[in-house]
Amino acid sequence: MVLNLLPRLMLLACIALLVMLLGLLLGSVNLPLESITAVLTGQGSPLHKTLILDLRLPRVLAAFATGGLLAIAGALMQVLLRNPLADPYVLGLSGGAAVAALLAMLAGVGVFWVSSAAFGGALFSTFLVFGLAYGSGQASATRLLLTGVVVASGWGALISFLLATSQAHQLPGMLYWLMGDLSHAPSPVIPWLVLVVVLLLLIPLGRTLNVLARGALQAAALGVSVKKVELMIFGLAALLTAIAVTVAGSIGFVGLIVPHLMRMVFGYDQRILLPASALAGGSLLVLADTLARIVIAPQQLPVGVITALLGVPVFLLLLYRNNR
């Protein structure tokens, strides 16, 4: 039954490649298709080489990996919390990352330390939420969700406080980070590595996730070690989100809408839904980042603005359709 959907997944993979190609060609300077083949075969002008290999390729790869990580994290969180409205940030992860990143910016340290602070903040928030929710021994999905939402609003207040008390010249950088921005993305090697390894880990776990979506008790009755699996999903989702936030700040909506869109195309089997979400999330973010680079070129918009502008109408349409 799962295998019937493989052709569609292949089609999606082709679309992903096409979108990445588009991301390489379009920008403040549009390149012809031949320039890619020329550069790849070692020919082509030095300008094209720099533009494609040093500037656009790393950025396109970083965008794709970030989108893929966020989409998988969102799909996992939705199963973990048995709530279709969960997204990767629902447990306060992006808030923790943001507060740490903004503090690093206020301290005036470099890009590397801002990213590291974001990663640390994300993990700290994860442990905080998990510790508070599971501390008493009994944790339901609702309790975890509630803890996360409350911790997230705490971070939100801290972010507002930092923005309100910081100097005017520091604000644009902080706001760009908060909206999600790929112009300072570090090397895409680690995000890609994590994306591929986690997908390979998750696909064999897909059937278990399907059973878990029927509720913790039903899953236990069908032989799932619920606590172990939930802990693993939580850890993986947190790691994926932390890396995504480190690469690009907090980018909204990818993690929420992509799994939903993929459910409409592929159905509910996680074994196909997870790779499909990775491909679609990656493509969406590459597309959004390409738009962010060309809409007001040579200036750039933060990519989070575009994903939200694309995401809000799509999500509302989804809700409207589900209501009928």
Binding site: P84, R207, T208, R214, L217, L222, G223, V224, Y268
Partner: protein, 256 residues
Amino acid sequence: MMQTDDLIMHIPSRPKMDALNWQIEAGQSWGILGPNGAGKTTLLLTLAGLKAPRSGQVLLAKQPITSYTMQQRAQQLGLVFQQQQDDFPATVLATALMGRHPYLRSWQTESQADIDLAKQALAQMELTELENRSIQTLSGGERQRLALAVLLTQNPALLLLDEPTNHLDLHHQMAVLEIIHQQVQAGKSAVMALHDINLAARFCSHILLLYPDGQACWGEKTIMLQLPALEKLYRQRLITTQIAGQTLFFPYSSIG
């Protein structure tokens, strides 16, 4: 098949409870009768090893249930819950197929044989026509039958059922209880929490009475289904009548 060893369920609000030394053999079908909140569901969860007892232990094939992995347990015993969680849709067939989960390795996909088993279970529950429908569109009774189809697909030796006739119309009540009866005749065992004394009298070989104060008694149904015991159990006056050699119990009311 299953045995409880000085088992005391964990119900925090009830400090004093009888220890259960209970034996469930192959070919027996047990009905658990008791008022709301007596602990019927807790007992089923404890038997399945999904809820830790306060003391004592549950033995499955003479081994403590805790010594089995979750997957091994799910191959031996299956549960039908009172409620199903359907926040995420799935098709009826895909849901029934989940009954094969305990038998599949993580890298395996369901084979044609697994799909045939699921379809057979759906046919037994008269759900074949709905197999491509989303579970979120099912009525309460259809959803309950699907939960039973998952159990039939799982095909365990011990069936634990929490109010299996919930939401079912009269035809499907009989159909479901007859299928459970057939399974027990074929050498399996069933333990079901029921609210209908007369269904228990017809379809169970043994009865366990669970009192709200923590007392329990169990045995063959002819011994257990006595008017004084049942009236005390439900704190409700009952009247009896005989039809075709069977004793039927009805709740008494001053109104009608």
